[in-house]
């Protein structure tokens, strides 16, 4: 019989286990909070909303479940899964395990867009729109620069252009922070740049869901080709892969996902960098398993961290602080214990 790698045989089991873990964390997240909720309440409310009947649960609890905790958990799932999927795609595409979805400037562009919106005192919806557009525009600019420069390693040119544009946008954000009203605007800017799901509502979820789903389609369809994209560009082309257009499609998809996610959550670092590593430990580097595993772990991590963020202190702890405070030590642990090959 065929000898297959251990990770390959263990893949479906690992993905099933991660799915169970995600469901457990979702349940804990909905049950956690100031108002006591029982699993029966959740079931009753969800059934009632689906069937249009009466849940029989106290109206306050029903509001807490349906309007507060479920949207927030949903946002955690979407944002965490999106950032992790984009990170997994980018780490393969850029053949580097230290790459995060920010590498081409999507976060820098989104930050700039959002900060401009806050600076101009625009509505929440406009701020989200500007963040989304800023993220897309920054990556488009980076990609355009990368396409002008020929006859060099296309990956290297893209990354360097991303670093430069990111620095430029970072400078613009800093300038706006200096100019912003220190009592009203500056705290809002700071909180946006650290990320939070505190003010999420159902409309936010509905507005980003299509972008995330659309972006997932090419990633899922190109899942096997993505393995070849981790090879040297010329090597992949010699094997018959049209690397140029696959790169455009995957960058567009990852950017769309990331921009949609950060437009409602603000900047949340570390998930896109860290989660694909953990996923690779469970299921190996094959993208057809790495993608679902990354999304499940990303969603579980995000929902878990967000539950901590709203329950460990009297105030909401910004997510960026927690993801880094938990993620960075874990990353160092990986660094110290992973033998080689960045498994």
């Amino acid at each position: 019989m065929q000898q297959q790698p251990k990770a390959q045989r263990a893949g479906p089991i690992a993905i099933g286990a991660l799915a169970v873990l995600l469901v457990a964390i979702i349940l804990v997240a909905i049950l956690t909070g100031k108002y006591p909720v029982t699993p029966g309440d959740i079931l009753a409310v969800v059934m009632a909303k689906l069937s249009g009947g009466d849940s029989g649960v106290a109206p306050t609890i029903e509001t807490v479940i349906w309007n507060v905790r479920l949207p927030r958990v949903g946002a955690g799932i979407l944002v965490g899964a999106s950032l992790a999927a984009a990170g997994a795609a980018y780490q393969g595409l850029f053949r580097n395990p230290l790459v995060s979805p920010d590498i081409l400037g999507v976060s820098a562009g989104a930050s700039f867009g959002a900060v401009v919106g806050i600076f101009l005192s625009l509505s929440v919806l406009a701020i989200q729109g500007l963040a989304f557009a800023g993220g897309l525009a920054a990556v488009a600019l980076v990609y355009a620069i990368g396409s002008i420069v020929r006859e060099r390693d296309p990956i290297l040119v893209l990354v360097l252009a991303g670093v430069a544009i990111g620095a430029l946008l970072g400078a613009c954000v800093s300038l706006l922070k200096v100019l912003a009203d220190p009592y009203n605007q500056l705290p809002a800017i700071t909180f946006w740049l650290l990320g939070s799901l505190a003010s999420i509502n159902r409309a936010d979820l509905v507005s980003i869901l299509p972008a995330v789903l659309v972006a997932l389609v090419p990633m899922a369809l190109l899942r096997w080709r993505m393995n070849l994209m981790t090879l040297d560009d010329e090597e992949a082309r010699a094997l018959g892969v049209e690397t140029r257009w696959i790169r455009v499609v995957i960058v567009a998809a990852a950017t769309l996902m990331t921009a949609a996610a950060v437009s409602i959550s603000g900047i949340i670092g570390w998930i896109g960098l860290l989660v694909p590593h953990v996923a690779r430990m469970f299921v190996g580097p094959d993208f057809s398993r790495l993608l679902p595993a990354s999304m499940l772990i990303g969603a579980a991590y995000m929902v878990g961290v967000d539950t901590l963020a709203r329950s460990i202190a009297a105030i909401e702890v910004p997510l960026g602080i927690l993801t880094a405070a938990i993620g960075a030590p874990f990353f160092l642990y990986l660094l110290l214990t992973t033998r080689r090959g960045w498994q």
């Binding site: 981790t230 040297d232 090597e235 018959g240 080689r340």
Partner: protein, 262 residues
Amino acid sequence: MMLQATDLAFGYGRVKVGQGVTLSVDRGEVLCLLGPNGCGKTTLFKTLLGLLPRQGGSLELNGKDTSTFSRAQFARHIAYVPQATGTYFPFSVFDVVLMGRASRIDTFASPTMADRAITQEALAALGIGHLAARPFTDISGGEKQMTLIARALAQEPELIVMDEPTASLDFGNQARVLSRISSFAGSGMAVVISTHDPSHAFACASRVALMRAGTLVAIGKPADVLTPQSLQALYGVGVAVAYLEQAGRHVCTPTLTERTAR
């Protein structure tokens, strides 16, 4: 002719590396390219593979002009064994060889059981079936080279292009790779290799081309082309060529006496 290059000019972008290269290789043949470092061997190979656009001349596969070939069309005819691979992630040896099937799998599809069976055959043909589950990042240099050759076989090509397939291999692995090359030609494939050891050309090549500064200075049977004079002119050092009865073929070695610098 399986592959026919006529008056080929090649290089990177506007930079010209070589020109006037006319060569052909047919099924069952091994063409061996010799030349000093930087003479343009790798650039020529990339042009033959369609990875670089040619700057002039013509390139035909089975009598068809390759200008309009897609990457997949090239890959179904020609397989490339690079000097080193850029896999940074711990894909299994099986998965690396399976990647050879890419040009025969639709862009949005995944490998089928048939692709896996062909992969298994390629592993067996190279004698590395036992490595299938090992991470590619963990195996030795010789095993990596065998894996990349197996990947080229899984591509089911008519022509295999190998860029210095024996570079950085130990003595035993060099011999193993050379005997594989001969067996590929024996099974009806065309092979083009470059090497820095003229003895390797005697060991496996049906024809040899000598390259200097981007042009071919000689092409023909090893015994006709690989003379002490031609090799000295090519490399700038004294070379002895002798028939070694125990091996049943010619071998080359530098004489290590001072000769004219190039």
